[in-house]
Amino acid sequence: MSGAAPAVPGYGCTIDELMVVTFSRAMANDTRAFNGAVSFIPVCAYRLARRTHAPDLVWAASSIAVDADPDVVGSSTLSDELWGGASMLANSPFDFWAYAQGARYNTFAFRGAQMDAYGNVNNSVIGPYDNPKIRLPGGGGMADLGCMIPRIYLWSTTHDPRTFVDRLDFRSGVGWGDGGDHRASLGMPGGPQLCITNMCVFDFEPTSKRMRLASLHPGVSVADVQAATGFEVLLPGGEVPATAHPSAEELRLLRTEVDPTGARLREF
C-alpha cells in the first residue's frame, strides 16, 4: 500500500505534506475529532493542528484514545498502536455514540472509493449491489457518523474521474445528500465543509451544496481539475487562489514529531 507522493512544485514539500497542512489549518481550536480506518491524512492533520494553532483540539485515536500522542503513526489508524499518551481510553460504545449523536464530537473525516458533488461517498460496491464488479469493505461507521457529526471533512489522494463521479454506485455515507436543504430536512446537523484532494481543495457552494473549487495546488489548473472530476466543478467568483504554502515549522513538526515514519504515505 505504501507509496511515494509527488513533490509540490516550488513549495519544498510533497503532496501528502501539503494535504496534511491544509487539513490541519482548517481545524478550529474547538475541534473534537475522532478517526476511523485508513485515515492517515486526517490523523496527521489533527496531531499537527494541536501542535500549532489549535492546542485544545480533542482527538480520540481510533475513536477510543482521547488526547493520544503516540510516538509514531503505525500501519493502522484503528490500531492500539495509536493510543500512547492518551488521558482516556473511552471504552464504552454507549458513551461513544452518545458523544457522537450529541455532537460532543463535532468533527469527522471520511473518504470513499467514489465521492459525488454533494460529498456523499461510496465504500461498498463498484457496480450493482447484488452483482458487484468490486466488493469494497463497506460503509462501516460512515453511514452513521455522516448523519450525526456537524463538521465533515472529505479527502482523497486519488483525484480522478473514477473517484469523483457524477453518480455513486451506492451511497454508503451521506454528505449533503441530494443537495440544497436535503440534509437539514433529515434533521442532521452541519454537513461537509471541505474536500481536500491531491489536486485541489473544494468547499461547498452554500445554496446547492455542490463542490466548488476553493484553491488549486501548485501546478494544477482549473481544466486539470475538471478533467479529473466526473461532475461539473463549480468555480468561485474571481480567480481561484493557490493552496496556501505550508510553513517551515509545520513541515518540521509533521516530519519529525507528527508522523516521522511517513505512515501517511500508505494512502498513496
Binding site: V38, W83, P132, R135, P137, G140, G141, S172, V174
Partner: protein
C-alpha cells in the same frame, strides 16, 4: 485488527464447517479465513477489510463470484439491531443511515424501516431484532465458571454481540482462579452467567492484536496478501500457516510465534 477470536475461527476452518452466517460489526482476517475455506455463505456486517493493508481478498472474491452474500449495515444500524435483540424490543430507533442507500437494502426483509415520528415529524430508522445463535469473543483471562476479563476493559463492540446472543463462547489468553476476579471485581467484563463455555487459547487473537499483550502481526498480513498472487501460492500458504497445523500450538509454531508473546509481534503502545 483487534482481538478477533482467531483460534476459534481457525478451528471452524480446520473441521470443515460450511454454510455459516457470520455477524460481525467490523472484521477482517477472520472473515477472510472463512471465505478462503469456503466455510461462510452469508456475512452480516458493517465493514470487512484489512484496513491499512487493503481489501480482504477472499471475502471480496466470494461476494463478487456470488458464493458469499454480504448483508451490509452501517456499524450503528447493526448495533441497534443487536440491542433490539438483547433488550427484547420490537425495534431500536436511530438517525444512523438516513439519507444513505443502506436502509433500502433491508426494506424488503423488514429488518430496517425508515419511519417518521408523528410528534416531531423527524425521520428515523427502526432497527428490528437480529437473532444471534452464538457469540464468540476473545478475552485476556477467564475462570472455569465463565467469569471473563478484558484487560484493560476495552470491550467496544463485543459486549453488544454477547448481550444479543443465545449463547456465548469465550476464548481466553489465560485461565485463572476465581480468586483473581474476586480480588479486582471492577475489572470483570462478563459475568459467569453470560458465558456458556470457556476455552484456553494463548495468543488466541493472532494475527490480530490483543491490547496490551500484543499488537497485530504486520508480517502475517503481508505474507498472506503476498500469497494471494496465485491460487497455488495461497493454497500452500493457507495449508502451511493457517488450516494445516493440527493444534493451536502447532499453528503458533508454524507462524514462529511463542504463546507467551515477546517474539516479534508488535507491542501495543
Amino acid at each position: 485488527m483487534n482481538s478477533a477470536p482467531m483460534a476459534f475461527v481457525r478451528e471452524l476452518v480446520r473441521v470443515g464447517r460450511r454454510d455459516l452466517t457470520v455477524v460481525a460489526i467490523v472484521a477482517g482476517m477472520c472473515v477472510d479465513w472463512l471465505a478462503a475455506a469456503g466455510a461462510v455463505s452469508r456475512v452480516v456486517a458493517g465493514l470487512i477489510s484489512f484496513e491499512g493493508f487493503g481489501l480482504a481478498p477472499h471475502f471480496r472474491r466470494g461476494v463478487e463470484s456470488g458464493e458469499v452474500t454480504m448483508e451490509e449495515y452501517s456499524e450503528h444500524l447493526l448495533i441497534c439491531r443487536l440491542q433490539a435483540q438483547a433488550r427484547r424490543l420490537p425495534f431500536v430507533p436511530t438517525v444512523a443511515g438516513l439519507g444513505t442507500d443502506v436502509p433500502a437494502l433491508h426494506a424488503e426483509s423488514g429488518a430496517l424501516r425508515v419511519e417518521t415520528d408523528a410528534a416531531t415529524g423527524r425521520a428515523y430508522v427502526a432497527c428490528t431484532p437480529l437473532a444471534v445463535d452464538v457469540a464468540v469473543v476473545h478475552v485476556h483471562e477467564a475462570d472455569v465458571a465463565g467469569n471473563a476479563r478484558v484487560n484493560p476493559k476495552l470491550i467496544w463492540l463485543d459486549s453488544e454481540i454477547v448481550n444479543a446472543a443465545e449463547r456465548t463462547i469465550v476464548t481466553a489468553e489465560r485461565i485463572v482462579d476465581t480468586a483473581s476476579f474476586t480480588a479486582e471485581p471492577h475489572r470483570t467484563t462478563y459475568p459467569r452467567f453470560m458465558v456458556d463455555a470457556v476455552c484456553e487459547a494463548p495468543r488466541g487473537a493472532f494475527p490480530t492484536s490483543c491490547f496490551p499483550d500484543y499488537g497485530h502481526d504486520n508480517g502475517f498480513f503481508e505474507d498472506y496478501l503476498a500469497a494471494c498472487s496465485s491460487p497455488e501460492a495461497f493454497g500452500d500458504f493457507f495449508e502451511r500457516r493457517v488450516a494445516g497445523p493440527a493444534t493451536w500450538a502447532d499453528f503458533l509454531a508454524a507462524n514462529d510465534v511463542q504463546p507467551a508473546g515477546g517474539d516479534g509481534g508488535e507491542a501495543g503502545s
